[in-house]
Every structure is written in C-alpha cells, then in structure tokens.
Symmetry: C2
C-alpha cells in the first residue's frame, strides 16, 4: 500500500513530460516515520538542500514541505506509527531536450509507504552480505547525493536473488568498498571506526551522518577513508546503516564470517542513547 501526494492532493501518476522520467533530473529522500513523525528530518533537509544546490535546482521551501509531509502522513491510509515517506524533488515538466527551463523545478512528490521493522534476528545476529560485481563510477559532481539516477544500485541489487543475503557491497573502479546498494558501511578495528570516503561516489546516508555526529559528540572519531574488500574482511566487526533500519551488524561478507556479530558496545550504546537503535520485531 502506498499513497502519493503533490500540493496536498493525492496523485497516482506523473505527467509524461516530467524530467524525472526522461533524465532522472532530480533527487529523493527516504524518511523514516516513527510515531507519526519524520526521523532525522533536519539531516534529510540538509542533504536535499545541498543536492538541489549541486544540481542547480531550486530547493523546496522546507516549512511547506514539512507541512505537506504531515498532510500526506495524516491523510494516507498508512499506519503512521511505523512507516516510510519518500520525497521526490524533480526538475519538473519541460519540453524535450537536456536543457532545463529557466523555471525548472516541480512541486515535491510525497509518497507514504507501509513499513515493518526488520526481523530482530538481523539486529541480534547480523546480516549476510556479498560483494557486487557492479562498480560505482567516480563522479565527484554527484557523489554523496541521492539523485534519481540510480542504475548502478539497480544493477548491483539485481546480482543476487537469495533471500538470505541482506545486502551487496559495491566497489569503485579502484577496488575500494564504497557503499551497500541501499546502506552505508562502517568497519570497526580495535579502537578505530572507519567508513568509506564518499567524495567521488556513493550516497552519503543521513543515518551515516547521524552516526558520525553522534559518535563524535561522545568522543569517538569516525575516519572517512578508503577501504579495500580485504580491509573490510579483516575488520573486527562491520555494520550497515540506513535511514529505515538504523544500524545492523554484519555477520558474513562473501565467505568471510566475522568473529563476533555483536556491535562494538560503545557504538551500540551511543546509538541507543540517541534514540536511533532499533531492535526489530
């Protein structure tokens, strides 16, 4: 079940001349709705603002957008106690051709989706991951953004069908792990927590940002660096983050099993304190 709205009116379709369809000319955010409220709203808005600036699109008015989100959440048939909202900012309707109109930028689309917590087993015993063959291209101009150009993630996700595999980790062309198809990656090594640098590719998740900032406030520095698959494999522990599931430990990467599946206790405690850590059903 999903419900989409634009300008506080339900919609079921997008005009065929919208640039989201033709060029992926736009951005999106996937916001967790908990007890009717959007989680990490400010971080979502910050990324959306930065994305609009980098793409040269007008950023939506955030108060209007928040009101529209509230309207959508309240008016949809979705149980808002635990749900998900997808916000799309497109360059909007335009004549054919790569050139944007001077007044490019449509009104945001807001979809509300039913969601269920992931199984508690994943939070407790960790997820199984694999390495994708699909590479993430180096594109500093779009790196970190959640644009509507997501074919690399689609191809990465299409590489496996096994339901027991939770996520695929994707490398850049230099054989460094950058992201999961739908998550960010953190590696723990003794006293060090590191996560791939996303200045050339990948999506800079709001949960990743929240983790880095929360740990930072507790005196734990997360190093943004380059991580080879071997380094990821050699880590004491690995975990994934995303705006919906929060944080999940990894128990297996390809054939490699991690020694412990429990997340580094300090990380777990800090996330719990910040109100993020979920423990599944």
């Amino acid at each position: 079940v999903s419900n989409w709205y634009q300008n506080n009116a339900p919609i079921t379709a997008l005009p065929i001349d919208d640039r989201a369809i033709h060029y992926g000319d736009g951005l999106f955010e996937t916001v967790a709705i908990r007890a009717g409220e959007p989680r990490l709203w400010d971080l979502h808005m910050q990324r959306l603002r930065q994305g609009c600036a980098r793409l040269g699109l007008p950023a939506p008015d955030e108060i209007t957008l928040r009101n529209s989100l509230n309207f959508a959440v309240e008016n949809s048939e979705i149980d808002a106690s635990y749900a998900l909202a997808k916000l799309i900012v497109s360059a909007g309707s335009a004549p054919r051709g790569y050139r944007r109109a001077e007044d490019a930028g449509g009104d945001p689309l807001i979809g509300v989706f039913a969601a269920t917590p992931l199984p508690a087993d994943l939070y407790k015993n960790g997820a199984i991951t694999r390495q994708c063959a699909t590479r993430l291209a180096d594109q500093p101009q779009l790196a970190g953004l959640k644009t509507l150009n997501r074919l690399e993630q689609v191809l990465g996700r299409s590489e496996w069908q096994e339901p027991e595999i939770f996520e695929g980790l994707m490398c850049d062309s230099d054989d460094h792990i950058i992201c999961g198809t739908m998550s960010n990656v953190f590696a723990i090594n003794k006293q060090t927590i590191s996560t791939p640098d996303l200045s050339r590719n990948g999506v800079a998740g709001v949960m990743r940002r929240h983790i880095i900032e929360s740990l930072g406030r507790s005196g734990v520095t997360v190093t943004e660096t380059r991580l080879s698959p071997q380094e990821v494999q050699d880590a004491d522990a690995l975990f994934l983050s995303n705006s919906q599931f929060g944080v999940i430990p990894v128990r297996q990467f390809g054939e490699h099993q991690y020694p412990g599946t429990a997340m580094h206790q300090q990380v777990a405690d800090i996330l719990l304190t910040s109100g993020i850590a979920e423990h599944g059903q």
Copy 2:
C-alpha cells in the same frame, strides 16, 4: 506539441510507481521521422536490444514496437513529414526498492514530437561549440547506452545559456573528449578520421554508427581512439553527428576557429549518398 502512446492508446502520464521515475531504470531512443518513416530503425533497434541485454531488461518485440510507432505517428497531430519519435523502455511499475520484480519491463512508451530542420547556416558554416566543465564518469557497464540516467548531460547542458553556442563537448576524468551533450564528435586530420572510443562512457549514437559503417563501406576507416581537447582543437576539421540533424561541421571550439568549415568532401559525399546528409532550411 507532443503526443504519447502506450499499447496504441494515448497517455498523458506515467504511473507514479514506475521505475523510470524513481531510478531511471530504463532506456530510450530518439528516432528521426522523415516522410512518415523512422530513419535508421535497424540501428535504433540494435542499440535498444543491446541496452536491454546489458540492463537485464526484456527487449521489446520489435515488430510490435514498429507497429506501435506507426500507430503513434499516424494518430498523432504531428506532421510526420519531418518529426521525431522518442521511445522509452522502462523497467515498469514495481514496489519500492532497487530490486526489480521478476517480470520487470513495461510496455514501451512512444512520444511523437514536432520537429523543424536546423537552419541551413549551421550545415553550411558550421556550429559554435564549447568545452563543458561537467565530466562523464567512467562506467563501462553503461557506456554507449542511452539509459534514462542522464544527469551528466543535463548538467553539461546547463553550463551555458548563449543561444549561439550549439553544443558543449564533454571530457572524461582523464581529460579526453568523449561526446557532446547530445551528439557524437568526429575529427578529421589529413587522411584520418577519428572519433572518441566509447567503451568507458558516452552514448554511442546510431548516426555515429551509421557514419562509421557508411564510410567503412567506401573504404574510409574511422579510428575509435582517445582524443584530448588539444587534439580536437588541432584537427583540420571537426563535425558532430546525431540522429536528428545528421551531420554538422564545427567552426569553433571554445576560442579556437577551424581553418575551414566545409566538411571533408569525401565524408559529405558519402553521407549524401547514404541519404542522411540534411542541409537545413
């Protein structure tokens, strides 16, 4: 004026859950319609077929697609003596998430657009071009394809507003010219004709292919190679190709003026013989 069809029925919008909107999960072709008939149809179908195979999407049935194109061209209000059809093959409607449904693949969308020949002056005296700052990322898995992920071209095209500039040439991260935002590039040097290699990025235009094959049949080999901006500037002559305008000489690239604007006579003759060369209004 445009008219869109799907399954021989007019449409004005795309269902909001279509993967073209969310991920750019699909491909397109822009076909020139001349005297009611699609030009270079077989080359368009060949590229579309290859693209579907590489993206893992079912290729549309080509006879059905051709019939649908004919239907659209005949039923639209567009003057089909000189027009343009855009074909979109999307992964279609699906639940949220990067993972495709097993039956991914929607019915092709066909848009018919009014078109007018470019001014004769462009064909005769050549076009003014510039170099874009936006780079094309190396992505061999998608290289050559006309996918719905076109943000790089959109950003490239957004770099200039001057109406006298016809096209922007785009480099890869290694400073080699790859493509124009909407065209392919050929450089002529004495007896050599070369065009950028597109194995790592860029769009392999059907007109580019037609030119390479037509010249080849006349004993002229086009070399697919790497071309620096300096080499492009030092060329005796430069020309652009695209499925709509055919071939247009370049008279200026940035500040550099080419010694002659007339296309290498042999190239021009061969294209004329193949029925492609247009001369504008």
